[in-house]
Homo-oligomer: 726 residues x 2
């Protein structure tokens, strides 16, 4: 406790005494720079509004939002979830922002009976499957905390020998085959990590396992990472990770209405027709419980990379001597969920929408995941409300979305996107996602490359509460600390020029940007402040945890609101949209070079027309360069309104061009040719997805075909840009 | 037990049924190649003798040697140690090889009283410091097993707060300073690994610690590596690592007679004058005991890289709340040790010595360390004896050395080398060390680069018992498996050409090659077969362990004897010595390039004459090339005897040229300019030692000076080669 409080107090004092001074110093420092997308005069006006905007979010207000939102567990579809929807709607309205609930009817299972996991041999022992009450943390004893279960697990009752499959991914099953262990007809025990959990379920099922138990190994988010809750922020022995095992890489959203909105009148699949549901029972357990199963395992010693952090040598099992009984009973029903859609009308381009979104439903209290994000959205909205009262109106419309059912599989966002697909394709400028806004102090972002400059620029205008530097500088410093070579170089020069721009990642999946970017082709981003966070999807992701570990001063919630709102304002207010496709071309070139390295190593180059692709990238790159010059030119000329409008429209349309209506191979809901979640990652992106997958599969015919589609997409994008300059 | 026995039986069957066939197939395959250093006729004769030689070593005989040698614990200077000397001498004599004991009087401490390590606060708890008796393993209850202690620990009695210092190396203390923890006046707890333990003692003392406790973390050689003894080969909870904490990087050998032989009449330092002894008490403990100290530690959470395998988050301590009492009582005496020196006279060049060596003393039973090596030497000697009876006599003299007191600090070898320095400088061709011959099936070697080709060639002529391939192939396959990139490349081609030659390492220290190579400049090598070995310097390094885990069939002992003897025979019998300095030049060039990379990164290039060094390497390289041609030429010409003799002498002298009598900075016992143990590694080599150390110290003046000495050495070596061709 003592170790934890020391830094907290330091930050608090800093926040109280020094922060406003620091905020102003950051502003004055950057005020001289003209904002991208604005004229000189427009930039000055925008800066004034932004300065005003960023003074409004407050720690006390953020704290109160989070306290209210996390007062009860609020799993999607429950009364408590509905209450949070009403809270968000009413807050929005109180800020002078119009806000409505939007309801969908989706397949939502809850556990009907507590799951049974028991060792049958070598002795009979039933596992607790219960997260301990922590006396210091009052909400940990809340009786409404949903039992440990995996969303979309099948109902099942199986007894079989147990096999430990490490992370439960294809290379792990390969390693098991090498030591002579087959999982067919067996129950597999996988540890969390390295992929979305639905992938583990699919791979287990595809390998013939009859059940899957997933546990949190202490090496991954328990004591090997640091002190465990309530002493520290990491996962304690009884805690387990709830979560969906939907086949997210196939498609997200309501499993019974893929591609169509889950509204009255939409035809629904039968459950057995759904392609995103596992047929085997799946259950999460804690490492305290997992130890009871793992320690008696016989069979071969774990292959390299399988050992976790429990204090014995892991074996893989598979022998008849260790058998497990797994019984799940899921109550599958079509239930209602509630998005909250709020809207600030644009003054000049009301049919151009800057969409912000965050989900609201949580597995338990969701202090980190997702209500730190909800809090940031509410504070940003409160600040927008403040500006509206002073006469600001955005040039374009800002839409603020509070999604429901994200945890089960991006349900609320996907259904809304599917319902409004036509309109969104016409009107959406970008989608700005925040899921977890705050689990610590370390900024991180992923986005399409056209938004990189915009995001970096905004982080240069927002101060970091802990260091007093800008968010950008803290972010870049951390990148340097994590890169030992660069550190070496820097030790001599004292300059930070050795590290290029702080890195923005690629979008995979696991949050609500997926329908926007990967189904419709809307430029998207995702961001937040991360830290030591070991209570993910557990009963301890609550107000106590946040106020002791994640953000005791709530200043990172404030910072997230400032940053997210600043980015939205620049997109909503700018004359010429600050989207730059030169970075996109560079990124695609890198993705392709990397893939070709693999192709060459594997001697899969035969069917690949490398030149055609490089030509397409070159053309795209050169057109992006011309577009950027034309855009700057049009912004500077007072009478170039129509020309600028054409360019703006093109900058939005380009991303749509990168989708292909035929969809990706075997998962045609996903249409984007550059970004998709990996088939075997779920969370992480697989850039140039069908091309890379073909290389993984060593299928040169597919690789050639996939590359052709990418080339076509780049050509469409190039042509769109070209035509905008005509 | 079951998992262990399966592979054992497989190997046994293979050994019984297939092995002789495989041995012959390896021979016939390679019989066509002419041996380096021999004429065509000479090569054929040599191959016949070698074939004969390699059939003689036998598993049953090896097993019996090991059984006899490990019947009792035999720490240096004890009666049981003397008994093993007599065994070796008598065996040698029984093979027809002359053999004598050679005695030295060296400083040897034994624990007088069992050490006390106890937690004083937050509660009083005395640690067990005792390795458990394992019922299956009869020798584990032997009352003569020496208690857990560190050789050359000081006697001391201290009580102080405890600080966990990770591996106890300089970067660890830097990391502690960053989190505000100072070790001055405290007892430090370090884990074994990443350096020779004497380095940990010196660094602890230099940082002001008053005591050092060293434990074996389960992440390093316990359950995180695999099953623990007696279920598996890794370290169990009560087991700890004995071992010397002499300042080996300063100099090895008797601490009271540095640079001179520890024989009657040699003046001796007082103990307080010795520069290689620690002044603080040092004690090894098990992870079972360490847990009692580590778990209550408070203070900051461990910095990155400090977490080990015990099941809680480590803290670094340093607070008054956790205090430890450490009391050691060492009985320091000058005691006798006994080398056994055996000799096979050379027929034509009896004053050219091919020296083989292995130590015999052990911390307990020494089945692996070192008596697997002693066993291999005895089997090689028995085979030499067999050849002698059939009329073989080596061209040069073979000297077989069984060293004593290696564990305390290379005492037997160092004193013998110091006593015979003048003669060795004239006569020694090479020194072939084997310390641990067998802890598993994986061949590994380190040597001066001039011996690389010779070692590789020999491994191509010896079959690997487990795979039936050659030792070389198994070694190369493993290199490929450990190198994922290469694996990728290879998966396509199926060829093994993607991986260059299997790698031979650089000689650091930690075994008896050090006085030969690094004090006198005698070309040296070290080799053995490694594997999963977690009982290093424990009570369980015994016959039971070896016959269950290390080498149940004893065929790797046989293989080690075959390989070591083959290399010795080629050096002893060849007309032209198979030493190739082209590889040496290449290696020095690589070492220099690597160092210059560091120098450039740190901007330390100012005082460094890079061109001068590159010129010296070029000249050496070109002269090595000419020498090699001259050598081949002289071998082929029947009447070139005198010329070949000059070349042979030069090939030996070159290595002496690489030493500098002024010695290395601050440790002048070490004279070799290319190879020395790292100041902060002990075991691992620090190539171009003074140059690299100066770069570490960021001292450009020292760097320039060190490089000048290396350049001088290379010039001497080049000149020696040049003159041999005159």
């Amino acid at each position: 406790m003592k170790n934890v409080r020391r830094p907290v107090i330091a930050v608090l004092i800093f926040a109280l005494l020094g922060f406003n001074a620091s905020l102003r110093s950051v502003w004055s420092q950057n005020n001289s720079t003209q904002l991208d997308g604005f004229t000189a005069a427009g930039s000055a006006t925008e800066r004034n509004w932004e300065t005003e905007f960023r003074t409004i979010p407050e720690a006390a207000s953020a704290r109160e939002h989070l306290r209210r939102l996390t007062a009860q567990p609020h799993v999607a579809g429950t009364k408590e979830d509905y209450d949070t929807a009403i809270y968000v709607r009413d807050q929005m309205r109180s800020y002078g922002i119009s806000s409505e609930l939007k309801e969908y009817d989706v397949l939502l299972p809850y556990p009907r009976q507590p799951t049974i996991v028991e060792l049958v041999a070598p002795r009979r022992e039933r596992l607790a499957l219960k997260e301990a009450v922590v006396p210091e943390d009052p909400s940990s004893s809340n009786p409404k905390i949903i039992p440990l279960f995996n969303g979309y697990s099948a109902t099942g009752d199986v007894t079989a020998p147990l096999v430990y499959v490490n992370y439960g991914l294809p290379p792990d099953y390969d390693a098991l085959k090498k030591v002579g262990v087959d999982v067919k007809g067996k129950i597999v025990l996988a540890r969390y990590g390295n992929s979305f959990r639905g992938v583990k379920a699919k791979v287990a099922q595809d390998n013939g396992a009859v059940g899957l138990i997933i546990y949190s190994d202490p090496a991954d988010d328990g004591y090997m990472q640091g002190d465990v809750f309530p002493k520290g922020p990491w996962r304690p022995a009884t805690s387990a990770q709830r979560g969906s095992v939907q086949f997210l890489s196939t498609s997200p959203g309501d499993p019974l209405t893929p591609g169509t909105p889950a509204i009255p009148g939409t035809p629904r699949l039968k459950m057995e027709e759904a392609t995103t549901l596992t047929r085997i029972p799946v259950q999460p357990i804690s490492y305290g419980d997992a130890r009871r199963l793992l320690e008696p395992l016989q069979g071969p010693l774990r292959p390299r990379g399988f050992q976790g952090g429990l204090p014995f040598a892991y074996h893989v099992g598979g022998t008849a001597g260790v058998r497990v009984h797994l019984k799940t009973d899921m109550d599958y029903q079509v239930r209602k969920i509630w998005n909250v859609i709020s809207r600030i009308e644009g003054a000049e381009e009301k049919d151009r929408w800057v969409v912000m979104g965050n989900h609201r439903d949580a597995w338990t209290f969701g202090a980190v995941d997702p209500n730190s994000g909800t809090t940031a959205m509410l504070e940003a909205a409160r600040a927008f409300g403040g500006l509206l009262k002073k006469g600001w109106q955005p040039r374009r419309t800002i839409v603020l979305c509070s999604w429901d059912g994200e945890e089960y599989g991006l349900l609320g966002s996907t259904e809304w996107v599917e319902e409004n697909a036509t309109e969104l394709k016409q009107k959406a400028v970008v989608y700005l996602n925040v899921d977890v806004a705050v689990s610590g102090a370390n900024f991180g972002a992923a986005s399409v490359p056209s938004m990189w400059k915009l995001i970096r620029a905004a982080t240069r205008d927002v101060p970091d509460p802990k260091t007093g530097k800008t968010v950008y500088q803290q972010w870049q410093d951390r990148t340097r600390d994590d890169s030992p070579d660069a550190e070496l170089a820097d030790a001599e020069t004292g300059s930070d020029t050795k590290i290029a721009e702080a890195r923005i990642g690629a979008l995979g999946s696991g949050s609500d940007f997926t329908p926007f970017l990967q189904h419709l082709g809307i430029p998207s981003s995702d961001m937040g402040f991360g830290g030591d966070y070991g209570v993910y999807h557990s009963a301890y992701d609550d107000f106590y945890w946040m106020s002791h570990f994640g953000d005791p001063t709530f200043m990172y919630h404030v910072t997230a609101a400032r940053l997210w709102g600043t980015i939205a304002m620049r997109l909503a207010d700018s004359a010429g949209l600050p989207l730059d496709y030169r970075d996109y071309a560079t990124q695609v070139r890198e993705f392709f070079a990397e893939s070709m390295k693999t192709a060459r190593q594997r001697k899969l180059t035969s069917g690949i027309d490398e030149k055609q692709m490089n030509d397409a990238i070159d053309a795209f790159s050169s057109e992006a360069e011309k577009t950027e010059r034309a855009r700057q030119d049009a912004i500077a000329q007072p009478r170039a309104g129509a020309r600028l409008q054409r360019i703006n429209d093109a900058l939005i349309a380009v991303e749509r061009d990168l989708t292909d209506a035929r969809g990706l191979r075997g998962r045609n809901w996903y249409t984007h040719q550059i970004y998709a979640p990996g088939t075997y990652t779920g969370y992480a992106a697989q850039p140039l997805p069908d091309f890379r997958q073909a290389l993984e599969d060593r299928n040169t015919v597919n690789a050639g075909e996939a590359l052709n589609r990418i080339v076509e997409a780049l050509k469409r994008a190039t042509e769109t840009l070209r035509k905008a300059r005509d």
